[in-house]
């Protein structure tokens, strides 16, 4: 298991076409900035709101290199651990995993029309005027 303390300083990675690009977390509305534990809890279903507002996390499909980076370096879990976690959580009746999208474009389109939606993307794909709620260093 990756240490939960590692991700904050490790969003710059090597190994793929997007390897050196920072990941940013965006939200569709006026959601406040969040810290790393809140982000981790949101993507593991342990919280469903941020700052009294409903929050709806979005994911890319398993196998997507951006998702892999996000899980390993932000959430602190491998794809296998994350899938296994949600597999159990779903079948103990604690809800389904975050909605998944095939591409960043598809995710951004849905983000624009879903109140409280939260998504991750490479900084180069950041739409102008987007509400960034978390980025490298968490500050």
């Amino acid at each position: 298991m990756t240490s939960p303390l590692l991700p904050l300083g490790c969003l710059l990675l090597a190994g793929s076409a997007l390897a050196n690009e920072e990941l940013v977390i965006v939200s569709s509305n006026g959601m406040p900035r969040i810290d790393w534990p809140t982000l981790q809890r949101l993507y593991t279903g342990r919280i469903v709101s941020v700052g009294q507002q409903p929050a709806v996390p979005f994911n890319l499909l398993p196998g997507d290199p951006i998702r892999k980076r996000f899980l390993e370096n932000v959430i602190g879990q491998t794809e296998e651990q994350y899938t296994g976690y949600w597999l159990v959580r779903r079948y103990v009746g604690k809800g389904a995993p975050p909605q998944e999208f095939a591409t960043v474009d598809e995710m951004l389109r849905q983000l624009a029309i879903t109140p409280g939606a939260v998504a991750y993307l490479p900084v180069s794909r950041l739409p102008s005027g987007a509400n960034v709620i978390f980025r490298s260093g968490g500050k």
């Binding site: 298991m1 534990p37 342990r46 919280i47 409903p54 602190g76 879990q77 899938t83 597999l87 009746g93």
Partner: protein, 415 residues
């Protein structure tokens, strides 16, 4: 069944009348296990396993729908097709879950409807083999809960911590079920060996505290279960007639049994990626089936090597000494002369005591074929002590002092 229909209607109504119906997230998933188990004995173990092999013990197929009306309101329905709990000869399609949930804040969760209870660490997901590595959960512990499903209400409060989340869950509910018995000489209502299923009504309430870290789980629970026979009193004791020397039911009976159940469990990830799991449960049943009063425990070690997770566990359960001694006296009550006609009934009464005295050592492995599917193989050796209610004893013999090997191969998947 009426309650199940009510749950289905409730879910249907909620789906239909929710104003923002177009916003409902609807997520359907399926799960299943095709499992084959074979022993080296001609008699049945755990209802189905014998030397001819069976798919009935471990196979199960199900579908689950998770609906999210808003971030606070949702519903879950899970149906399954599995060997019946009311017959050894058929499979039944049943609803495991059909509940609506309300999460007013991140810390509170209220669920109402048909629920799976939080007894052991894997009780809630026991039907979904892809969620654990064991080919079969240790029955010495997992057979102790009188029921795992109720129609009722569950309220839980979670305290989110930096490293540990604490969840306290209280629940109450009712259900109808069956207790299975097996008569090796005669059965209740028949003059041949075989099983019968006693219809019962069950009310269960409990309080369970669970602590979770990202790797570890700890749980402690206390439950009170009320069991009543349908339309009749339940016998409380089997006594020996002082004149004839024949055992029989004591007169009278009670309307319901009050059964306390306690459980304790932990699953901890140690250094070198070694996981240790251990659970303990105890139950006290003051009825003619006093052998059901027992404790059960297991300890398991596993370690993941890539896609492989080999494991070993040792499990043990034991009825109270008084129950085992009572069973011995009844089972050993062989009458002669004209009273010999009562001998089959003495064996029947001994079988009704339901003694539980056995241990299992199991060695197995799972292989993760895909992220959502597991292939599992296991060898287990079961040794019974005085007697075991999990063994359908052969005619003319008993379930005590038996050694059997069980070989299991299964494929569990979700989609």
């Amino acid at each position: 069944m009426n309650r199940l229909r009510m749950c289905a209607l409730l879910l249907g109504a909620l789906t239909f009348f929710t104003p923002a119906a177009r916003a409902i997230d609807f997520d359907v998933s399926g799960f299943g296990t095709a499992g084959f188990a074979l022993s080296d004995k001609s008699y049945h173990y755990q209802r189905f396993i014998d030397e001819d092999g069976t798919f009935n013990r471990d196979s199960i197929f199900g579908v689950q729908a998770d609906l999210k009306f808003t971030s606070q309101f949702g519903a879950t329905v899970q149906g399954k097709l599995a060997p019946s709990t009311a017959s050894d000869r058929r499979w039944d399609a049943t609803l495991s879950w059909a509940f609506v949930s309300w999460r007013p804040t991140d810390e509170w969760l209220v669920r109402a409807g048909k629920l799976r209870l939080p007894f052991m660490l894997n009780t809630e997901n026991a039907d979904v083999g892809a969620t654990y590595d064991f080919a079969r959960l240790p029955m010495e512990v997992y057979s102790i809960a009188p029921t795992t499903d109720v129609v009722g209400l569950s309220i839980s409060k979670t305290w989110l911590g930096d490293k540990i989340d604490w969840t306290l869950e209280g629940y109450t509910g009712r259900t109808e079920g069956h207790w299975r018995y097996y008569g090796r000489e005669i059965r209740d209502g028949g003059n041949s060996p075989g099983s019968w299923f006693l219809p019962i009504t069950i009310k269960s309430s409990g309080l369970v505290l669970t602590a979770r870290t990202i790797d570890d789980v700890f749980r402690i629970g206390m439950h009170e279960v009320e069991v009543a026979r349908v339309g009749t009193k339940t016998g409380t004791d089997i006594i020996r007639d002082p004149v004839l020397g024949v055992y029989r039911f004591a007169p009278g009976g009670v309307d319901k049994l009050i059964i306390p159940v306690y459980n304790l469990g932990a699953s901890v990830l140690l250094p070198y990626n070694i996981r240790v799991m251990s659970e303990y449960a105890s139950i006290r049943v003051n009825s003619a089936s006093e052998g059901l009063s027992r404790w059960g425990a297991y300890v398991a070690l596993s370690r993941q090597f890539g896609e492989w997770t080999p494991y070993i566990y040792y499990a043990r359960m034991k009825s109270t000494d008084a129950a085992l001694e009572h069973w011995k006296r009844i089972d050993g009550n062989v009458l002669s002369g004209m009273l010999a006609v009562f001998n089959p009934s003495q064996k029947l009464l001994a079988d009704i005591v339901m003694p539980m005295d056995q241990s299992t050592i199991a060695l197995g492995t799972s292989w993760r074929v895909r992220p959502n599917s597991l292939l599992k193989a296991e060898w287990s050796h079961v040794r019974t002590g005085v007697a075991s209610g999990l063994v359908d004893a052969p005619k003319g013999g008993n379930s005590g002092e038996q050694d059997l090997n069980v070989y299991s191969l299964s494929y569990s998947f979700t989609f």
